[in-house]
Amino acid sequence: MRPVSYSRVADVGTAIGTVSADPESAFLAGGTTQVDLMRIYVEQPHRLVDISDLPLNQVEELPGGGLRLGGLARMSDVAQEPAVVRRYPMVAEALLLGASPQLRNMATVAGNLMQRVRCSYFRDVAAGCNKRTPGTGCSALDGVNRGHAVLGTSDCCIATHPSDVAVALVALDAVVQTEGPAGRRSIPIDDFFLLPGQTPEQEHPLTHGELVTGIDLPPLPVAATSRYVKIRDRESYEFALASVAVAMSVAGGRIAEIRLALGGVATKPWRARAAERVLDGAPATIEAFTRAAEAELAPAVPHGMNAFKIELARRTMVRALEEMAQREGTA
């Protein structure tokens, strides 16, 4: 690890001030991504500003009936929060299906949104990688890319966004609250994650030193009937090969409300709008689910080893919708 200085800050202003004043500094929350990447020289800040003591670790009710997850709330705490479990079960499920208990006890939800991709070439400083070192090419395009994305890719980068909970948050239209040198901002979560395009090094619209203070979950009755389905090789402690966050209500055999997002297959947490359009008002049948999944995956692009993900994602969507519909007792 490159030599690094470390300080702990107690208030938001100092945190933002310290990091924004020094381009070679970084926030340190749970450290499960940050320290990991420093140990392999992918990130080499000179200064770490530990924000663990900031008073941003609560889950609070919002005036209009929503919920605010503090940016520094631990994954394990949020997953157990009764209001989250009851009103947004897919958020709790996505958190619990991520990482391992030890990691979830350390990791924060803001850190989770900010985590970097798991592409092995990104992590191998001797390999070409446009995201890590712009202009060095994408080794994954013709490489070991079984885990890579089929949606939202570009010829510059095909790395999958790794977060689970972000998939649920995207389905819910959560809003990311930030505070930076230029003040506070509310960023709709879908805008918070950028497609790689020709600039895969830019993953978020944040400026250097801008802090994620919280994540707002809007009041959304349909979210109470939601779930998160995650498919992977081993039963625990692995990123998704494909995942689906779904919230759905059915009335008279027809889908009254639908929110759907995909994980494990796209370069950002993927709101499945094409599928939602097919499903909105459609009968809650396997045929409709299949049509929806196919519509969503129509633009998918395979890259060698990951070709199976298109079919896997399709089937996982159908499975999640089917189970949701069965639970609703209407299919």
């Binding site: 690890m1 490159r2 030599p3 392999i40 020289y41 798991r118 092995s120 070439y121 992590r123 191998d124 001797a126 390999a127 080794s139 013709d142 490489g143 070991v144 079984r146 498919i231 090789d233 081993r234 039963e235 625990s236 402690y237 692995e238 090969l241 199976f308 079919e311 896997l312 089937r315 996982t316 159908v318 499975r319």
Partner: protein, 745 residues
């Protein structure tokens, strides 16, 4: 006092482990310690044209930067020889940093020594290396046409090809034939403790190395040759080792590099491999492909077996894990041909990995057997019984012991195999297709070559210390040795302390090939019983002993008291005798001379594996629901640790079947998933309901205690049972490991 052997004594090192008090090789307290970090080649083939270490040398805390330009030459590069042989045992016939050539990705090209490991590691990234690269071969598919048949493999210990009868003719005449090719991804060991060496020169001619190894003596002898010093100047200590699975069975480069670095900086040096370096520094199970051709009569009797293996080896050695050995003797097959084909590639020499050879060879055979059973229309277990060989098919000699048919029977009972509907896709549980499969397990009984020694010393309070140079890498050997010594001496286990883990102790071979416990156990047994006999001899010769003039053969020892067999009230304790005769302690050295290679018997360990899987009908996800393994490992010293070993082996088999694969990027010549986040091993959530049982077969041939070893047989056949169960569940045969979900979509 009931015997300790066969009981369930808790691990004697257990409390230290769970309290974090066990000292691993990277934790031994040493003053004035410096830290070394290896820098690895980023290319797979070529030459270093320039190396600039100036910035690294200037970095804070750096004491030295060693490269091929200033490391100095090693005295000799010993030839690869499996550590079971009891001699120097380098993992490959090569030592790095002797010239500017790069033969494989991850080859050490520099060593940085600094005051902290972080500074050494950072300075390593400041070294500028320029390479001239040459085309590299890192995948079988790149060089099939360059395959050759080696005369011998495995450090020269095994033939590269063998045959009996006329296999071509027998296959041509066979009524039923199964011909299938199986592919295996490379596997890495991934023990929890990365390898580490701490090297301390006490003076110019006294080196102590604390090393994580399966064989302290093997490290001592290897270092002696590399450093050009007599064995008396080198002491290797291995207090606690955090698992190995074969990665610490041979001696790789890090202990010697630590010793050379320590000499260079004049300070003790600790060298710990990173997790990533564990993928390039200690060998692995090679990428391979195996073709099985089975010929049989219509009733299922096998008439011919042809088994060819193609695998990747290094530029230095003709290494293949011996996949053909156990399959060649698993069943009656009068006509046989087994051939290893090797391709040289840019890789470190592959090495022992969890049932090396058997894990892959028996997978191929047992999957082919499943196909044969289906082709003939009989139960797979019945097919095995029809082909059971009461003698070693290779030599025609009887087995020293077998127990295989009992294993089948017991496993079938425990599993409920009889109720099985043989039709594929015949069982369903909601979205899950359910299937069951079976396989035989075979593992050779390997014997050390050199004499195995142990020292036993009894003190005049009736307690005993037993010593041998074996290391404890998680198998429970110290616990089992405590039991063997206690029974041999006739004292309770609480009065025995087993000491191992140092080359200063009586020499035993490295604990490899599932032979560690039986090799050292035989020596411990002889030491303990000879010490007992010595005390009995003294008692019957002593005028003041109640046993005076008794026939030693009529004296036995219970709870430390020597008594007449037919009059247990007559006798005295060891302690009484020793106190009366002013003897503080009595000590003997027990030496076990292993039997010759040809003992007049076939020697193998047998078992049966059954598995039930659930396969998601739409998503292809495979989850193992139940595993039953029944094994006949001869005498079981400790049911608890033995069953744990076997269960661990079965779970590794699950990993081999479904998860484990190291993926090579041929453009870079490097592994693309060298981390525990990307190389998947089973986690607790993957572990099914596992039932382990043992059939204790009596064996007087293998060694004095009749042990055949439990270290690896648990792995063998587990993956085949799972693959056969996947077929039964889905109707789709699996020819490639691991069976990942895309193969079932």
């Amino acid at each position: 006092m009931s015997p300790a052997i066969g009981g369930t004594l808790n691990r004697v090192d257990g409390r230290f482990k769970v309290r974090g008090e066990s000292r691993y090789s990277a934790e031994v307290p040493v003053t004035n310690l410096a830290h070394a970090v290896i820098v690895n080649a980023k290319i797979a083939s070529g030459r270093i044209t320039a190396i600039d270490t100036s910035e690294a040398e200037r970095a804070e805390g750096v004491l030295a930067v060693l490269t091929h330009l200033n490391l100095g030459r090693v005295a000799t590069v010993p030839r690869l020889l499996p550590s079971l042989a009891g001699l120097a045992a380098p993992g490959q016939t090569f030592f790095p940093m002797q010239d500017d050539l790069v033969h494989y990705g991850g080859q050490p090209v520099a060593v940085v020594v600094a005051d902290t490991i972080e500074r050494a590691d950072h300075a390593g990234t400041l070294i500028r290396i320029e390479y001239e690269t040459t085309p590299a071969t890192t995948l079988l598919d790149q060089a099939r046409d360059r395959a050759y048949v080696p005369e011998r493999i495995f450090g020269g210990l095994l033939p590269g090809h063998s045959s009996r009868g006329d296999v071509a003719k027998a296959l041509a005449e066979a009524e039923v034939c199964v011909d299938a090719t199986y592919r295996f991804a490379p596997n890495h060991h991934n023990p929890i403790e990365p390898s580490a060496s701490t090297a301390v020169w006490e003076d110019v001619d006294r080196l102590t190395v604390y090393d994580s190894t399966q064989g302290p003596n093997a490290v001592q002898f290897t270092l002696a040759e590399l450093l050009g010093r007599p064995p008396i100047s080198i002491r290797v200590v291995s207090h606690a080792v955090g698992g190995s699975f074969g990665s610490k069975a041979m001696v790789w480069h890090h202990p010697a590099l630590a010793a050379l670095a320590a000499r260079h900086v004049g300070r003790p040096v600790r060298l710990v491999l990173s997790r990533e370096q564990m993928f390039t520094s200690c060998g692995h199970r090679e990428e391979q492909e195996q073709q099985i051709t089975l010929g049989a009569r219509a009733d299922g009797r096998i008439t011919a077996l042809r088994h060819h293996k193609l695998s990747l080896t290094s530029p230095f050695d003709d290494w293949a894990e011996p996949s053909l050995q156990s399959p060649s003797v698993a069943y009656t097959s009068p006509h046989y041909e087994g051939v290893y084909h090797l391709v040289r590639g840019n890789t470190i020499t592959p090495t022992f990995t969890r049932a090396p050879g058997e894990a892959t060879g028996m997978f191929a055979l047992e999957c082919a057997m499943d196909e044969l059973a289906e082709r003939i229309g009989i139960d797979p277990l019945e097919l095995r019984l029809r082909n059971y060989s009461a003698t070693d098919p290779e030599s025609g000699k009887p087995w020293s012991s077998s127990g295989l048919t009992e294993c089948y029977q017991r496993a079938a009972e425990l599993f409920g195999w009889r109720d099985r509907d043989p039709r594929p896709r015949s069982r369903r549980d909601g979205q899950w297709l359910i299937g069951s499969g079976m396989a035989s397990a075979l593992y050779p009984v390997t014997q050390p070559v050199n004499p195995q020694r142990s020292r036993a010393r009894l003190y005049n309070d009736g307690t005993a210390v037993i010593e041998a140079g074996v290391s404890e890498f998680g198998t429970g050997v110290f616990t089992a040795m405590t039991q063997v010594a206690a029974d041999g001496l006739g004292i309770p286990v609480e009065r025995v302390r087993f000491v191992g883990g140092s080359s200063d102790l009586p020499n035993v071979t490295a604990a490899v090939g599932s032979a560690g416990t039986s090799a050292v156990g035989s020596a411990v047994h002889l030491a303990a019983t000879q010490l007992r006999d010595e005390l009995i001899r003294r008692a019957v010769a002593d005028d003041h002993s109640p046993l005076r003039d008794a026939d030693p053969a009529n004296v036995e020892v219970h709870d430390g008291k020597m008594v007449l067999r037919d009059r247990p009230d007559v006798g005295e304790t060891y302690a009484d005798l020793m106190h009366r005769t002013f003897v503080p302690d009595v000590e003997v050295l027990g030496t076990w001379n292993p039997p010759p290679q040809d003992v007049g018997y076939g020697v193998h360990t047998f078992g049966a594996q059954l598995a039930e899987v659930a396969v998601d009908a739409d998503l292809g996800v495979v989850r193992v629901r139940r595993m039953v393994g029944v094994f006949a490992p001869g005498r079981v010293l400790n049911r608890k640790t033995a069953h744990s070993q076997l269960m661990g082996g079965m779970l590794w088999g699950l990993g081999q079947a479904l998860l484990e694969a190291t993926r090579m990027d041929p453009r870079l010549g490097r592994w693309a998933n060298a981390s525990l986040g990307d190389y998947l091993v089973p986690v607790n959530a993957d572990a099914p309901d596992v039932v382990v049982d043992t059939i204790e077969v009596h064996d007087e041939v293998v060694n004095p205690l009749g042990m055949k070893g439990v270290g690896e047989i648990g792995v063998v056949g587990a993956a085949a049972a799972i693959a056969n169960a996947v077929y039964h569940a889905t109707g789709r045969r699996q020819y490639e490991l691991p069976i990942t979900l895309e193969k079932l979509l």
